[in-house]
Each structure stands twice: as structure tokens, then as C-alpha cells.
């Protein structure tokens, strides 16, 4: 029997990281060999304020089980105010998802500086653990993406 038929379910996690702090934080995690689950895939954006709610929904549509956005700590934004806007936008979006009955733990925002490799890894480990416990995301996704067609 081929092994992958028995494959255990693993979550799919998309992480949007701002170029200046969080992406560098992720790099530092790498340089420091701090491991976190391979399920986490990072997309680089210039600033957390570049993250459009449509990207997050798109990720869920395509079958992501959790989406996390990381940016510079408030006050430290490379573009001075970007993450303040991002903070409001994400709060609103997450609130709406929660309101629609989507598990609120599937979305998260964390501020990770370039020096916080440790924190980056810890956050990702924790988020992946949360998502794994929540299980597969069935409430928000396009079934057409999950169905195996032949």
C-alpha cells in the first residue's frame, strides 16, 4: 500500500509578512535554526498595510486552514503608519469572519520585529498547533479547490 494513502491531515497556513520586520524576523528564526512547522508558508509584502482582506479570503477559498499576518510593532513601521491601518483593517475583517461563524482562531495578527526570530518561531509553532487542534477548515473555502478531480 502506498504510504500517502494513509497520510495524516496537515494544515495549510499562509503567513503574510512585512518585508522590513517580520520577514526579517523569519529570516532570523532561520539563521538561528529555530524550527516551526513546514505547513507555514510565507508571502512577503512590503508592509502589513499592503495586505488586502481579499488576499486572506483568497487563501481560505483555496483551502488554507489558517492565515496569519505579521508586521512591525506599532510605532516601528518602516513606512511610519502602515501597520496602524493594517491593525484596524484586520480587526474589522477578523471580527466579520467571527460574526459569520468562522472560527476566530483561524486568523491572527502578530507584531514581530526583525530581532524577534525567537518570537517568530514561537508564534508559528503556537499558531500551527492551534490550527491543527481546530482541524480542517470546512466553513470558509471553495469546495471546488478541495475536491480531487480526475
Amino acid at each position: 500500500m502506498p504510504i500517502n494513502e494513509n497520510k495524516e491531515w496537515k494544515p495549510l497556513i499562509v503567513a503574510f509578512c512585512c518585508n522590513w520586520c517580520s520577514y526579517a524576523g523569519a529570516d532570523l528564526a532561520g539563521t538561528s535554526r529555530l524550527s516551526y512547522p513546514a505547513e507555514v508558508k510565507i508571502i512577503k509584502v512590503p508592509c502589513s498595510c499592503r495586505v488586502n482582506p481579499m488576499f486572506i479570503l483568497k487563501a481560505f477559498e483555496r483551502g488554507a486552514d489558517g492565515v496569519i499576518m505579521c508586521g512591525c510593532h506599532p510605532g516601528d513601521c518602516h513606512y511610519s503608519t502602515g501597520n496602524y491601518y493594517a491593525r484596524r483593517r484586520m480587526t474589522m475583517l477578523f471580527s466579520m469572519l467571527d460574526y459569520l461563524g468562522i472560527d476566530r482562531q483561524r486568523t491572527r495578527v502578530e507584531w514581530v520585529s526583525a530581532a524577534e526570530g525567537q518570537k517568530f518561531a514561537a508564534v508559528m509553532n503556537d499558531f500551527a498547533k492551534t490550527i491543527t487542534e481546530l482541524g480542517e477548515n470546512v466553513k470558509l473555502g471553495d469546495l471546488r479547490c478541495k475536491k480531487q478531480q480526475d
Binding site: 483551502g63 471553495d142 471546488r144 479547490c145 478541495k146 480531487q148 478531480q149
Partner: protein, 341 residues
């Protein structure tokens, strides 16, 4: 003619559902629409479903085929042609007539395989309208709400505490044969009374006496540049609510969905009222809402009859009268061209 007690309707439904899938009006979240019947599903005798019955044959979205790509190679797999045997119960006369209109589109050459298969696999059971409302004007288009046998397989009437049942086509008779056990024979007295009662009401319907003399296949020149269109279309929002509740509107779009595991090509309803309906890379031939508005009504009242022996593409169900956000509708269009005379 047969009957069954209203109280035993669910017996009738389970009997029908033994060999076929049954669809009938069901109220869900405050809105009545056709839905699949399962044990326990309650039939709703509202006069009109919000959406017409057309999406039973021409669903709002329907997958046509799937593509697989690998490098430069592609593979095209047509989706399975539906073979579900179905019964539609509780169809009003107007909707039943709309099927004939849709047939002349989808079952004319080249036939639409998906629509044709659904249509051929289904039995249409109409139900007479015991309480028509002010928006109904099916009489204008020759539909008899009291006796909608013209376009159905079985006609039914709710009268007293009974549902009367009359098969009016071969398909209808075959179905009747299948389920005869739950029906009892009956004379036509109570049905005739009901028909007479409904006919009296239809005479009171304010829109039911409109005249269509201004319309028809030969009226393009007379109507196309008429000044009325400006005023009529002025407030139109360009939404598709009239189109999507209309039993005869059949414009569709074909789209590709690029999912993770291959590409689906599906068909979905579209509306000539949408601003991008005829949009191409370099522009559209109907840039204004007036043109789009005119197209919809000209199509129903002029172009369609021109290609279909004078048959109009409207059945007077009045859904647009009830649903248009700004209360503009085909009745107002007909009237503004002298239809109320």
C-alpha cells in the same frame, strides 16, 4: 380525475419520491423556493416562489466540463449529462408556460444537452392558483391560472380539503399509473367550481387586461427609437433582480474556475441589464443603461416573437413587479406603449 386528501399530501409525496426525485416549493429562511423534497419537508402553498421554477432545468450555475493541464498538454472532460428522474410539483401556470419558452431556446438546434436531458427526465405537475395577486397578469400571455393544463403533465387543484389530480400528458399518465395507489377517483364538480371561482378573481386583476397590440415581431422599427425608453430606464439600477427572478430570461455566461485540482468550466445566469454583459476589450455595443434596459424588453416583446411565431418571452408571473428595487417592470413598459388602453 383523482383526488387525495390534503392531510395525506405527504403520502403522495413519498409515493412520488419512491422512484423519482421530487421538487416542490418550500419555505426556507422566510423565502419560498423550489427545493428537493425529503421525508418531513413541508410543501408551501405560497402563490409564487421567489425564484421561478426555471432553475430546475436551467440552474443558476452548472458545471459543463473540466480541464486538466500538464505543461502544454490539456485534457477536456465533459461533465456527466444529468439523468436524474425528477418530478416538479406545485408549478404555477405561468412557470409551466415558461418551460415551453425556454424549450424553444435550449431545445432548438443546436440542442443544449444538459437542459434537454433535464427536461426529458422530468414530469411537471402544475397547481391552479387559488389566490392570484395584483401583480399577476398571466392572462395577457394566454395562461389560464384556473386550468393550467396547456404546458403541464399533470394539473392539480387545491379545493376544499382535497387535492385534485388530472393527468394531461403521456408522461403525466405514466406517473399517475405509478402512484395510483395513493389516489382516489373523483368527479369534476368541486374542481369546476374552483375553476369558476379563480376565473372570477382573474377578472379583477388590475394588470390582467393589458393589450399587447403595440408589440410583436414586426415592431422593431416602431419601438426601438421610441422616446419612452428614456423615462422608463432612467431609474434602472442595472441589477439583475428582474432577470434572475424571471422565468423566461435565459442569458448565460460561461466561466472558468481555476481551482487547485484542475479547471472547471461552468455556466451561470447572466443578465443583459449588467453593464459588462456585452463588454469586449475595446468597448460595448450597449454602453448606456437605457440601451440595456431596452434590450431586455425589446427581446421579450419584439425580438423573441419575431423568431418564435409571435410567442412573447413573458408569462405575466409578476415577479419583476414585486421584486424590482425601484418598481420598474414589464407591466409599466407595456402600459407606457399604450398597453392599458
Amino acid at each position: 380525475m383523482y383526488y387525495i386528501e390534503k392531510a395525506k399530501l405527504s403520502e403522495l409525496f413519498s409515493k412520488i419520491a419512491e422512484n423519482r426525485s421530487l421538487y416542490l416549493p418550500v419555505k426556507k429562511n422566510g423565502q419560498t423556493n423550489f427545493a428537493h423534497w425529503e421525508e418531513g419537508t413541508e410543501y408551501c402553498d405560497d402563490l409564487k416562489t421567489v425564484k421561478s421554477a426555471k432553475d430546475h432545468f436551467f440552474p443558476q450555475t452548472e458545471s459543463l466540463m473540466h480541464f486538466k493541464t500538464e505543461g502544454k498538454k490539456i485534457q477536456i472532460n465533459q461533465d456527466k449529462i444529468p439523468d436524474e428522474k425528477t418530478v416538479l410539483f406545485g408549478v404555477r401556470g405561468c412557470d409551466a408556460k415558461s418551460f415551453k419558452i425556454l424549450d424553444s431556446v435550449f431545445m432548438s438546434e443546436p440542442q443544449d444537452a444538459f437542459y434537454t436531458a433535464r427536461r426529458e427526465n422530468s414530469v411537471v405537475i402544475t397547481t391552479a392558483c387559488s389566490s392570484p395577486d395584483e401583480a399577476c397578469f398571466c392572462g395577457v400571455f394566454g395562461v389560464d391560472p384556473a386550468d393550467p393544463k396547456a404546458d403541464s403533465d399533470v394539473v392539480t387543484w387545491f379545493a376544499g380539503d382535497k387535492l385534485y389530480w388530472e393527468a394531461v400528458s403521456e408522461k403525466g399518465e405514466a406517473l399517475t399509473e405509478e402512484i395510483k395507489d395513493v389516489l382516489s377517483s373523483s368527479d369534476e364538480k368541486e374542481v369546476e367550481e374552483e375553476k369558476a371561482r379563480i376565473s372570477e378573481i382573474t377578472k379583477l386583476l388590475p394588470l390582467n387586461n393589458m393589450s399587447l397590440s403595440a408589440f410583436g415581431g414586426d415592431k422593431t422599427d416602431a419601438l426601438f427609437n421610441a422616446p419612452q425608453w428614456d423615462k422608463l430606464s432612467e431609474a434602472c439600477l442595472g441589477c439583475g433582480s428582474c432577470t434572475f427572478v424571471c422565468p423566461t430570461c435565459q442569458c448565460y455566461d460561461v466561466r472558468d474556475y481555476n481551482g487547485a485540482n484542475g479547471i472547471q468550466r461552468y455556466r451561470c445566469w447572466d443578465s443583459c441589464m449588467f453593464s459588462d454583459f456585452t463588454m469586449m476589450a475595446h468597448g460595448t455595443n450597449r454602453p448606456t443603461q437605457k440601451q440595456r434596459f431596452r434590450q431586455r424588453f425589446m427581446h421579450k416583446l419584439v425580438y423573441f416573437p419575431a423568431n418564435n411565431n409571435g410567442e412573447f418571452s413573458c408569462v405575466g408571473c409578476g415577479r419583476c413587479v414585486a421584486r424590482c428595487p425601484i418598481s420598474m417592470n414589464i407591466a409599466k413598459v407595456i402600459k407606457s406603449f399604450g398597453g392599458d388602453k
